[in-house]
Symmetry: C2
Amino acid sequence: MDELTPRQAEILAWIRARMAEDGLPPTRAEMMRAFAFHSPNAAESHLRVLARKGYISLRSGTARGIHLCNREEEDSGLPLVGRVAAGQPMLAEEFREGRLPVDPGLFSPRADYLLRVRGMSMRDAGILDGDILAVRREAACVPQEGQMVVARVNGEVTVKRWRREGDQVWLLPEHPDFSPIPVDLRRDNLIIEGVVVGLLRVGGKL
Amino acid sequence: MDELTPRQAEILAWIRARMAEDGLPPTRAEMMRAFAFHSPNAAESHLRVLARKGYISLRSGTARGIHLCNREEEDSGLPLVGRVAAGQPMLAEEFREGRLPVDPGLFSPRADYLLRVRGMSMRDAGILDGDILAVRREAACVPQEGQMVVARVNGEVTVKRWRREGDQVWLLPEHPDFSPIPVDLRRDNLIIEGVVVGLLRVGGKL
DNA sequence: GACGAGACTGTATGAAAATATAGTCATCGT
DNA sequence: ACGATGACTATATTTTCATACAGTCTCGTC
């Protein structure tokens, strides 16, 4: 996919906006008016370039025959992250299990990604093995007492309830067979990967 | 909103499909070809009727200026049903708590509606009070052993695990404080309102 | 049996839209 | 200094489209 010049990007953005707004791709004449061109050919040649670079496709001979070639990335839904290896960033490609068609705004605050839960340590909070958590990335922000967080302790990712007493943090499981994880903020490396804002269970063992 | 004739409904359905398929509303000529009309005016007059009845709107003077007026019903997402009173149909307006932007196809089999859970009788299956279940309507179909169902026993709606032994059905809770509900198919009135295909927990007490 | 609504045919017409051709002007890399 | 590229102006030429007008044929109903 070729790079766009600023002008081309501007025009593509406008086309996107127009199509989102009123559902119909623009004509050359409409583009001409919008950008104060004095010739429909200015629009035509821009469309040609955008088509050549793969951002749109044009159906010849048809009115408003402009079709957006969607970047696969900004599709829709949220990325689902599976097992995360120690030391690797959360959203690294290797751990993605795909995307689920979930509206980020379904949760409040909105979710940034989905994480598949392993293990039963949060069973008594109604979170079972295989469940999918909706997670809000809360970069460098202190969680509320009792909030459920996705934390990374010395590289290891875990989902637990948050409790803090000064420099001492406790990551509390919700299952009698598991023990709280003590974290000393002065010694241990603690990263908050996000707070849990929702839960999704689909298929399988309902 | 006026009723449509079968022919009009057929044409509206085709327009919907066309627009979903290739993103562009059809022209009169395209409709003419699709329905083997011999005159573009056949298409034109159908569009006029659909517009008059409020199913579409037409932008005059613009190519492909057809816009679908979305029935609020089939908007998107799924209806969320709250407390259901005895004897009333599941999807009656009175019990709707609104709609959630959830893709029905997120679940498999696909969900038909969402139901908010009351009580803790399914706690040990990871279903808590206030949780939202995705339910697939399974009209007149026998559930699988052990499947979680939304059942209506003598008018009362409940979510339980299904177990059948001949004419005797047991609706099993998943909580030691609750007792199985015995249902005698010869005496009791049992309606399966659907099977549980997913779970959603959003906001609040995570 | 007249009447209107629904579902068309058949023919036109002008505006809307795609698209070609021939240039201008500035910028950038070689 | 030169050619390629980007961003246009200006004018034309077809198609493509929306849309009007004048009918036909078949129902159901009043």
